[in-house]
């Protein structure tokens, strides 16, 4: 049946509600964003290209967290752990096993998902937020394992990673585009953001399907969801597995890009960063996750560059001022509080309000 969509702004049929890109405007908006990203590494400095690569990696992890917290209503601190699992899985898969490019990424994600599937049932079969405590335990146990399993992780000194991003003869990090050779950074920029696009698209698709609706039903009223036949445990564990796999995928990308990982990369603060990205960007929004990841990856860099001129920043802490590291931690905490109190749907809601204002013009109220 051919859909006829007269009004592209307001859903008049159920089918329209499910359409991925609502209107001509949305489609051209996406095209604009894609074009902007394609041009970005040629316009931006090397430094900001690096920042955007890390933002892309963070976006993958934040999408996973948002799927679990924003759509299934389960808070989790476990992202630092699964991020670490993905990173060390990459170390093993590319090190002794010599897996080629797409395989180590998929393998790392699968290992993360598998461990999530093993832990999930213990934490998620109860009603209430047990997961947040169990996942705190995961981070602390994981930290211990990462520090002591020296044959794999190299202990506290860390371990180098050699995970090339090359398919067949084409190495993404040394290829050339339109006759211009690309730097490693630029290649990674495209690689990272293509992965972000694929995962964002997959997540959006998941959310408009049956499991996606089941998750939102659980979030909004678990009892009612159960009564209409949604298996709570099955869907919550499922969301946790997918979320863990995303986090592990992000960890694998991080390991490949940074070329060196140590247990200090996977502390509780990393989980807090992801939570802040989700809250600031928009809980329960795919675009919001990406927006939050970019915003909060860039913000500390901006503060760092300003730190010389800010009077309350000191290099030692205590008495005279606050260190940049401290300031970042406090800022992430503060952003979580301020956004949950003042703008619980995050930055993306501000954008939506602006859009609504102009769409409803001249009836802007």
């Amino acid at each position: 049946m051919r859909l006829k969509l007269r009004n592209t702004r307001i859903s008049t049929t159920y089918a329209h509600d499910l359409v991925l890109w609502r209107s001509w405007w949305a489609r051209s908006g996406i095209a604009l964003v894609v074009a902007g990203f394609a041009a970005a590494p040629f316009v931006l400095s090397n430094y900001w290209t690096t920042v955007l690569v890390y933002a892309g990696i963070a976006a993958v992890g934040t999408l996973g967290l948002n799927l679990l917290t924003g759509f299934a209503g389960q808070a989790s601190l476990g992202h630092a752990f699964f991020f670490g699992v993905g990173a060390y899985a990459t170390v093993v898969l590319t090190g002794s096993a010599h897996w080629p490019f797409p395989l180590w990424l998929i393998g790392a994600a699968a290992i993360g998902g598998f461990i999530g599937g093993c832990v999930g049932p213990a934490a998620l079969r109860l009603r209430g937020n047990y997961l947040v405590i169990v996942s705190l335990g995961l981070v602390i146990v994981g930290q211990h394992v990462f520090e002591h399993w020296t044959s794999v992780t190299g202990g506290l000194t860390g371990t180098p990673v050699r995970a090339a991003v090359a398919v067949g003869g084409l190495d993404l990090t040394t290829m050339s585009l339109f006759g211009r050779p690309l730097a490693r950074n630029q290649g990674y920029f495209y690689f990272t953001w293509i992965v972000v696009a694929v995962i964002a698209f997959a997540t959006r698709n998941l959310l408009r399907s049956r499991p996606g609706r089941a998750l939102q039903a659980i979030r909004d009223r678990d009892l009612a969801a159960e009564v209409i036949g949604v298996s709570l445990v099955q869907y919550k564990v499922g969301a946790f597995v997918v979320s863990s796999a995303y986090a592990a995928c992000a960890g694998a990308m991080y390991a490949s890009y940074a070329r060196y990982v140590s247990p200090l990369d996977f502390t509780l603060f990393l989980s807090i960063q992801y939570i802040a990205m989700m809250v600031v960007g928009g809980v329960g929004s795919v675009a919001g996750s990406i927006l939050g990841a970019v915003f909060l990856t860039a913000l500390p860099r901006v503060i760092e560059s300003l730190s010389a001129s800010l009077p309350f920043i000191s290099s030692t802490g205590g008495g005279g001022g606050i260190t940049v590291f401290s300031l970042n931690q406090a800022m992430f905490g503060l952003l979580i509080i301020v956004f949950l109190l003042a703008e619980p749907r995050g930055l993306i809601e501000i954008w939506r309000r602006v859009k609504r204002y102009f769409l409803a013009w001249p009836f802007s109220y």
Partner: protein
């Protein structure tokens, strides 16, 4: 044998501190349904404030502790008023996330004031020990046991016998019915946070007594009260105390015996052990030792 007695006493002392922290969790969880991650921040803040009053201002130690307890109880109430009251009615995960935000702000605000070094809190016990039946026991541990026991007894008496305590239990059991009886939910929430702040400070003082001192890593110690809470049951004060004591004993005994017996597990294994116990409990008996099992159809 005297070694074992020594370890058991140390474990009991540590456990009674966990019991205090746990009771703070449970009081807030029962009243508001929030798992409060900011508790570790309150513990750190309480210990730092004791250092501030006792060492920097030179006040007598007991007065410093009383002042710190009062100050952190006030900060707890203020947090409830400013941050958590506007959140009433929001989804639970949002409330939990906001306590995490508060934790990081409290920690880093403390770091900005007191820095990252280990600071002594100026307690009179230091490294003194006494001999009890052939075992060498730290004086600080005895004080911890005594004071924590007294604080726990006082709290249980409050819940059991005072009108205020019964109002708090009523508010936790059925908020609407309590409201109909003229019990103010705001007052109960505020009081819960004040109690949590007070017991957190006491716990912070005893955790950093003697040569240990206080630094930011103390909030990680407070996290180990979470396994204790799961072990005892999230909504049970008796469970909080039992779970706290058990986790304290398990931790000290692990550090004393298991780490030397099984060398492969790593030096800090006792830090991890409580969480492993927690996972086992969640698999075997998910509502904890004393928690109320949810009635539902299979």
């Amino acid at each position: 044998m005297s070694d074992l007695v020594q370890f058991l006493l140390a474990g009991l002392a540590l456990g009674s501190v966990y019991a205090l922290i746990c009771l703070g969790f449970v009081v807030i969880y029962r009243a508001t349904g929030v798992i409060n991650f900011a508790q570790g921040g309150l513990v750190v803040l309480g210990a730092f404030l004791t250092h501030e009053f006792a060492v920097r201002q030179g006040l007598p130690f007991s007065l410093a502790v009383v002042l710190a307890v009062a100050a952190v109880a006030g900060i707890g109430m203020a947090l409830e008023r400013v941050v958590f009251r506007p959140m009433v009615g929001q989804p639970t995960f949002a409330m939990i996330l906001i306590t995490l935000g508060v934790l990081f702000v409290l920690e880093q605000a403390s770091a900005a004031r007191w820095g990252y070094d280990v600071l002594l809190i100026g307690d009179p016990w230091g490294v003194q020990t006494v001999q009890i039946g052939g075992a060498t026991v730290k004086v600080a541990d005895l004080w911890t046991l005594g004071a924590a026991g007294a604080a726990l007894a006082a709290l249980f008496a409050l819940f059991r016998f005072s009108t205020l305590g019964i109002a708090m239990r009523a508010g936790a059991a059925d908020p609407e019915a309590a409201l109909a009886h003229g019990i103010s939910p705001q007052a109960i929430h505020g009081l819960s946070w004040a109690i949590a702040g007070a017991v957190a400070t006491l716990a912070g003082v005893f955790l950093s007594a003697g040569p240990k001192g206080v630094d930011l890593s103390l909030s990680l110690v407070a996290f180990r009260a979470f396994p204790a809470m799961i072990l005892g049951g999230l909504d049970s004060p008796e469970g909080a105390v039992t779970g706290g004591v058990l986790i304290g004993l398990i931790e000290v005994l692990t550090a004393a015996y298991l780490v030397t017996a099984v060398p492969g597990v790593g030096a800090n294994f006792h830090v991890v052990m409580p969480y492993l116990v927690m996972v086992v409990i969640l698999i075997v008996r998910p509502y904890g030792l004393f928690g109320r099992e949810e009635v539902r159809r299979a």
